[in-house]
């Protein structure tokens, strides 16, 4: 069957069951079925007082968990590019003889690209993730998975866990600070990574929770992000990760003049919108230009004496700076992008850790992004219908992440996608993106160094800006102008094989990852 974006979606896929086609950003939420609303209880555990939770190796912790072949294991990616845990656990599971596991991490970053070898060996059969990088992304895009990878947004993952669509048998939680009873936080210790927003959901719903720490502190730990009553066992290892690698380059304020031009345009668009007012809430993605928007926006806010209500998201040091300066009153942090953010937790009580359910889950009584006024997001590609791809790169490989992109785009009142018109010759505006992560109906504007393209679907916004002095341009004209400079690219070629499914935040299938034809 075809979904709303005219993508052919199989009704059933072995290992993944029945698939629902995407029908529109809020269609499923508007028409919830009885099945959608079923309640899935958390597995009850009970221990005798005085039982020790400490296990002296990961093997023993896994034995204690009762993990079986085909079981689902989860990890968080809060230590990002510095994470050691997942790749430490995989060879242990292999050695213990496990097969056909479902790998269900909050995302996979560069240090995890070796996972493909465990797929080859049969240890892992399925992968559910937000992101794919390096060799693993190439492996997937070349058709390496027997069962397609499922790519989810952060909000969509919280929904899948909470609704029982995916049951986590064992959650491995890298714990930068942990006491013997399993109280955990992410803000102290040698591997401190800040917020544990994604891990918090896993701890709440997993059947068995293994805390793995390199920093066993005296009981009781404070503050507590994940409480002891959700944690079944605690294992001490020598090193969880390298916190210097938590921050990727993308979290610094860009020095590229093109990024600044884009950011100035985007900030002017916000300034001219109805949302630029006292109490405005704002989120900026981690890309160079998106973060620079925060800079220009804060300049406008200072000049017009406006204080923002809250800022939210993956948090970088630059946003911490804006909180400190009082540009925004509060900051919600589901994931900390660099080490500087960790210190802010100790210093600033307005810097609040939230979990992925609170952040972006569409199936709860109201995630905080429902209150978001403006979000600025990056893109690998955008098409003339404003659909955005942040996953499949210009070589046709899955080398990115869904993240909170589609969640925030759907919920924010003003969604702005920013990108240069071309990067190293490749135009960013295409006829149709290779893989849709965020549907065009949830995107209000595309801003580049060459101007501002308003999505004509948002007629109210388009009309309200008609008489402004903004550099408005039709996205098709921007595409034409760009191709005059770059030349028209030949399209990538894909086969019909489905290598991955892009699950929209509401659980419907919005697109697929196709197999790239190597030329």
């Amino acid at each position: 069957m075809k979904n709303k974006l005219n993508v052919e979606i199989p009704g059933n896929l072995e290992g993944l069951g029945k698939l629902l086609p995407y029908k529109g950003a809020f269609e499923r939420i508007r028409n919830l079925s009885a099945e959608d609303l079923r309640t899935v209880p958390v597995k009850v555990r009970a221990v005798m007082p005085g039982t020790s939770k400490l296990t002296d190796s990961i093997e023993k912790a896994v034995e204690r968990s009762g993990l079986k072949n085909g079981g689902t294991i989860s990890f968080h990616h809060h230590i990002r590019n510095g994470d050691f845990l997942l790749m430490k656990v995989m060879p242990i599971l292999e050695k213990m003889g496990f097969r056909d596991l479902v790998l269900f991490p909050s995302s996979l970053a560069n240090p995890h690209q070796g996972v493909w070898e465990y797929v080859k060996k049969g240890v892992v059969k399925q992968i559910h993730t937000s992101g794919l990088r390096g060799d693993l992304g190439k492996f997937v895009s070349r058709g390496g998975m027997e069962i397609p990878v499922v790519v989810r947004s952060h909000g969509g993952r919280a929904r899948a866990i909470k609704t029982g669509q995916n049951r986590i048998d064992v959650a491995f939680i890298g714990a930068p600070a942990c006491d013997r009873e399993g109280n955990i936080n992410g803000i102290t210790g040698p591997s401190a990574c800040g917020s544990l927003g994604y891990a918090m959901v896993d701890a709440m719903y997993a059947d068995f929770v293994i805390a793995v720490t390199d920093n066993l502190v005296d009981f009781p730990l404070s503050p507590v992000s994940i409480p002891q009553y959700q944690v079944d066992t605690v294992t001490l290892i020598d090193k969880l990760g390298n916190p210097d690698k938590i921050g990727s380059g993308s979290t610094r304020l860009s020095t590229n003049p093109i990024d600044h031009l884009i950011a100035e345009n985007a900030a002017r668009l916000i300034l001219n919108s109805e949302y630029f007012k006292e109490g405005m809430s704002f989120q900026a993605g981690a890309g160079g230009a998106s973060l620079a928007v925060a800079k220009y926006l804060s300049d406008h806010m200072t000049e017009k004496k406006i204080t923002g209500g809250f800022t939210i998201g993956g948090i970088s040091s630059y946003m911490v700076e804006l909180l400190k300066r009082g540009i925004f009153k509060r900051m919600y942090d589901v994931q900390s992008f660099d080490k500087g953010v960790v210190n802010s937790f100790h210093e600033n009580s307005e810097h609040v850790e939230i979990n992925a359910d609170f952040y972006a889950n569409p199936f709860n009584s109201g995630a905080v992004i429902n209150n978001l006024d403006v979000v600025v997001l990056a893109a690998y590609e955008i098409d003339t219908d404003f659909n955005v791809n942040v996953l499949v790169d210009s070589h046709g490989y899955a080398q990115g992440a869904s993240g909170g992109h589609s969640d925030t785009a759907a919920c924010a009142k003003l969604t702005i996608v920013v990108a240069p018109t071309y990067r190293a010759r490749l135009p960013m505006i295409v006829e149709r993106v290779s893989t849709v992560i965020t549907p065009g109906e949830t995107v209000d504007a595309f801003v580049s160094e060459r101007g501002i393209a308003i999505n004509p679907a948002n007629k109210v916004l388009a009309d309200s800006l008609k008489n402004s002095k903004l550099p408005l341009i039709d996205i098709r004209d921007m595409k034409k102008e760009t191709e005059k400079i770059t030349g028209k690219p030949d399209p990538l070629e894909f086969t019909d094989k489905i290598c991955g499914l892009i699950e929209y935040r509401d659980g419907t299938i919005i697109d697929t990852i196709k197999q790239i034809v190597e030329k």
């Binding site: 300034l271 002095k469 400079i485």
Partner: protein, 296 residues
């Protein structure tokens, strides 16, 4: 031919940097200046001139004044520079280290030859760059030496070196050269462009220096980073009081014309024809800039 009414900023782009050349026209500078001289190593002169020439020819950059700083007269490079960059899309050549009217005349001759050889109908303009003591003393002669000249410019870095002094933050040592160059430009009826402000991270310093040279009579300033464009444009934008004053002058002037009065006065001050001319220019600049940056 393209018409350029404003020349507040000229953005320097190193001639051997394809990434920056490709984006030269999007930062909002009034002119771009592809540099083949100081920013290009001797071993890369051939590559840079060919790169700049290729972009001018194949890309065009139709909405912006395109200028190239070639190597100085007497260098082994200048003729090859011109052969590579002269094109129907090129607007002006900046001649560094112009010492005398002979330098300009020699360049004019070379330009004529290359234009003829390439069958280019238009006359590419010349922007002499004054950056030697000798050049400063010859400025007026230089300004009048060719009809192709429509702007003259000062190069502060090399000039202070030639004067065997240090270029300071405040730039007092350039005062004589600046005023001399401005006066020559005004006398010749051409634009006067100021030298670059090197500290790209000091926006306040840039603004203060631009305010100072605007007061002296400069019409624009060379910039080395896109971030410097907006602050310079802001300084050169007529202030609202200035525009108001100019309107008043023009209204009074027009009323006086109607009534056949010989003497005009506003706010108790006599208004002469040069003042009316200045008022008209302010209104013209304001009209050109209208719609550029101020919105709610």
């Amino acid at each position: 031919m393209k018409e350029f009414k404003l020349r507040r900023t000229m953005l320097y782009i190193p001639g051997n940097n394809p990434g920056m050349i490709g984006n030269a026209d999007i930062f909002g500078a009034d002119s771009v200046l592809f540099d083949l001289e100081d920013s290009v190593a001797a071993s890369e002169k051939d590559a840079a001139r060919e790169l700049v020439g290729s972009f001018i020819k194949n890309r065009g950059f139709s909405n912006i004044e395109i200028t190239v700083r070639v190597n100085p007269m007497g260098s082994e490079y200048i003729r090859d520079d011109l052969i590579a960059v002269v094109d129907g899309n090129l607007d002006a050549v900046r001649l560094p280290k112009t010492n005398s009217k002979n330098d300009v005349r020699e360049l004019e001759k070379m330009l004529e030859e290359v234009e003829k050889e390439k069958g280019i109908g238009r006359k590419i303009r010349i922007h002499p760059m004054i950056e030697t003591a000798l050049g400063v003393e010859n400025t007026f002669d230089i300004a009048l030496s060719s009809k192709r000249i429509d702007a003259i410019t000062i190069g502060g870095q090399d000039l202070t070196a030639d004067m065997e002094i240090v270029k300071t933050e405040k730039g007092d040592e350039l005062f004589y050269a600046r005023t001399r160059i401005v006066m020559a430009a005004k006398a010749a009826g051409i634009d006067a462009m100021d030298t670059v402000y090197a500290d790209v991270n000091n926006e306040q310093g840039l603004i203060e220096e631009t305010q100072m040279v605007k007061k002296l009579g400069f019409t624009g300033k060379a910039v080395i980073n896109p971030r410097q464009i907006k602050p310079v444009h802001n300084v050169f934008r007529p202030a609202s009081e200035e525009i108001e004053w100019a309107r008043e002058v023009i209204n009074a002037y027009e009323a006086a014309l109607k009534e056949g009065k010989g003497v005009i006065a506003i706010r108790g001050k006599m208004i002469d024809p040069p003042v009316v001319k200045r008022a008209q220019k302010i209104i013209a600049i304001a009209a050109l800039e209208n719609g550029a940056e101020d919105e709610e």
